[in-house]
Amino acid sequence: MGLGLLASRAMRPLRNSHSSVFLRTIVSKPELQSAESSAAAQAPPEPDLPPRTPVGGARIHFPNPEDAIEVFVDGYPVKIPKGMTVLQACEVAGVDIPRFCYHSRLSIAGNCRMCLVEVEKSPKPVASCAMPALPGMKIKTDTPVAKKAREGVMEFLLMNHPLDCPICDQGGECDLQDQSMAFGSDRGRFTEMKRSVVDKNLGPLVKTVMTRCIQCTRCVRFATEVAGVQDLGMLGRGSGEEIGTYVEKLMTSELSGNVIDICPVGALTSKPFAFKARNWELKGTETIDVTDAVGSNIRIDSRGPEVMRIVPRLNEDINEEWISDKTRFCYDGLKRQRLNDPMIRDADGRFKAVTWRDALAVVAEVALQAKPEEIVGIAGRLSDAESMMALKDLLNRMGSNNVWCEGTGTQPSADLRSGYIMNTTISGLEKADVFLLIGTQPRVEAAMVNARIRKTVRANNAKVAYIGPATDFNYDHQHLGTGPETLTELAEGRHPFCSAISNAKNPVIIVGAGLFEREDKDAIFATVEAIAKKHNVIRPDWNGLNVLLLNAAQAAALDLGLVPESTNSIESAKFVYLMGADDVNLDKLPNDAFVVYQGHHGDRGVYRANIILPASAFSEKEGTYVNTEGCTQQTLPAVPTVGDARDDWKIIRALSEVAGLTLPYDSVGGIRTRIRTVAPNLLNVDEREPATFGPSVKPEVTGKMDTTPFKSAVENFYMTDSITRASKIMAQCSAMLLKK
């Protein structure tokens, strides 16, 4: 660990000067007590070669090469851009400075004083996180003065911190625990009573034990800066200082779970995870999230066959280091309402468990009796690319081409990739200065994209305009209108906001994928493109026209060309294959149609199903997903499948063989080779494939826009798919946190 490394490095100069004392890394010793004498005894610093690697692979980006300055960290020279703090300079030099309040993505508070270092010619140790590095500064991180200072700070912090590590959920991953081991004193001098603080109720997600709080204010800064809610604050002064909501109130943010990660101690911990497991008994699996189209990078921590928690993983291009509450807490849905056996509906309407052999035989028989144009296949919002490929191939072999992914509407256009992905990229949004959101509520549709927009709004005062039904934003915005008329006004240049877009350097238009479901979507997209053209949103160096997708499966489905042949195939269908599709409207389906539901949850799709084939959920399989910006990512299996479930693509492959239409692949490798011939970008994992052509090559659209206003695409942020709908925590959240 970084700290242990640091601690052992802290030991080295001592060894040089006083070869007799190196029994322990951190001890209080006479030479530490009198800083000056030992500083004098210090040997002149010699550069520590070969160069050290920066902490955590910290990268430096020089915006302007002239602005580079050189500082010395423990005698080792580093070049850093002007304006970096001393702490960042040390990080670049490979020295991990202990810290509590500093967080690279939050503003600097400088109130914990743990990061004290010695700077030559400065009379006192300085708080490195708040001190800008100056040219030629000589920073010393492992001198007795610095160590003494840290030891002192540690002692003060531990004065009021309870010694309840054995029952604290942060134990084992607690910054205070680690740093007191590395930098603290070996004895305490405090004999009085510790203070205690009343716990606050922050809602169903975050558990508080406020006595443990060390007042670093990270959570307050996170709430105000990143989450954009003014719920948390600091009350009182001195030893009466407390973190809390000013009034008795819950924390209503879709990002509130992140305070659990940033709190350096166990003051804010996860309520659903409380007392469930210790972090060292968990197995981490690095995978991605599928509850929205962002594809946040997550780590699934599991113990045995059970998912215990989900935590974010750093990915600067997608989710930085945050995830939404839905992503973090949906995991209990993976344990409830699961389908674990193939089942057939009896004549009396009850489901009866059968073997795979019988189930597949029945499905194959019915499928072969249906006429090709009566066969329909619908992929669900959580489907991975492999299974969608297999489904499409199987249906094509049966002679039907009516296969699509739910949420893409009746007539998706998969021809131009730029027409359904986020062309600016999620991280590219930070360069924008004007946003025009059309029919999308990013806060509920893609919380991480919304966090980026908020970041941009805070950083460069970007303007945000919004067209759609009234909704909640956590940044300033202008509500231009609710429907297509406003679009027409913008396209014709009659709207006052036009000047803002055309004067912008990097304007961004984001269109919500909810509009895909509208009948007049071609006309709407044509109008949006007209706006883009008129205001120069698409330039060779900047593509600001974006679509914000809703589901994890959507982009891959369109990449693979899952486009239905006819718009009303459901009305005449006799055989419907739902691959995890729960949100399709089956009202128009004839009563004698045979419905196969393949999926992992007994959700809406099951109500109408005649036969159930249990499949594995995203935490149990390896699957390829493409996120809304076109970045291909893969999930990895963290836990075994439930019951007798099988991976989606395997079920379809097996069914194809039983039906006598054997698909030409029987391994993941084989199916990926097949995908390569259709959409090679799906094999470049962790890479973003930009769209090649802009909308300029699109054919002319003739059609008029309807005047019905836009609808919101996501009614309930916490419950959007079969996993989140099965989750108890998400149900609590929607009951308590959603404003009615």
Partner: protein, 132 residues
């Protein structure tokens, strides 16, 4: 335990493939010779015949016929000897023997359905479990 240790002495490594080969034959013969007492001990007469068990032993040995490294052969022989000794010591029970050597790893469930004959390995594995 001491009994096991006594009976499974570790012989010196085979010097070459030839020596290892002859040891295998030795082992096979020993195993075959102990078959009558094993069948007695575990009451196997009503489930298997001597010749059946003999061919099971030989097929177990043939399973490793591709091994050419004398050290590996020695190791496999050691395992075989150990197993044989365990059986002779009555350290196993009847169902162990039946499960391992009479019925075989396929279990009692055999795909006897004539429809399943032309089934691919994929489908066979699919019916068995999700992990293959």
């Amino acid at each position: 335990m001491s009994f096991t240790l006594r009976s499974v002495k570790v012989p010196p490594n085979s010097a070459n493939l030839e020596e290892a080969r002859s040891r295998v034959f030795e082992f096979f013969k020993t195993a075959c010779r102990s078959l009558p007492s094993i069948m007695d001990m575990y009451n196997l007469d009503d489930v298997a015949s001597k010749s059946q068990l003999r061919s099971v032993i030989s097929s177990e040995i043939r399973k490793n016929s591709h091994v050419t490294n004398p050290k590996v052969i020695d190791m496999l022989l050691f395992k075989g000897t150990e197993d044989l000794n365990n059986i002779l010591e009555h350290a196993k029970q009847r169902h162990h023997i039946i499960g391992q050597y009479v019925v075989g790893p396929q279990g009692l469930v055999q795909d006897l359905d004539p429809k399943d004959r032309g089934m691919s390995n994929f489908l066979k594995n699919f019916y068995r479990s999700n992990y293959f």
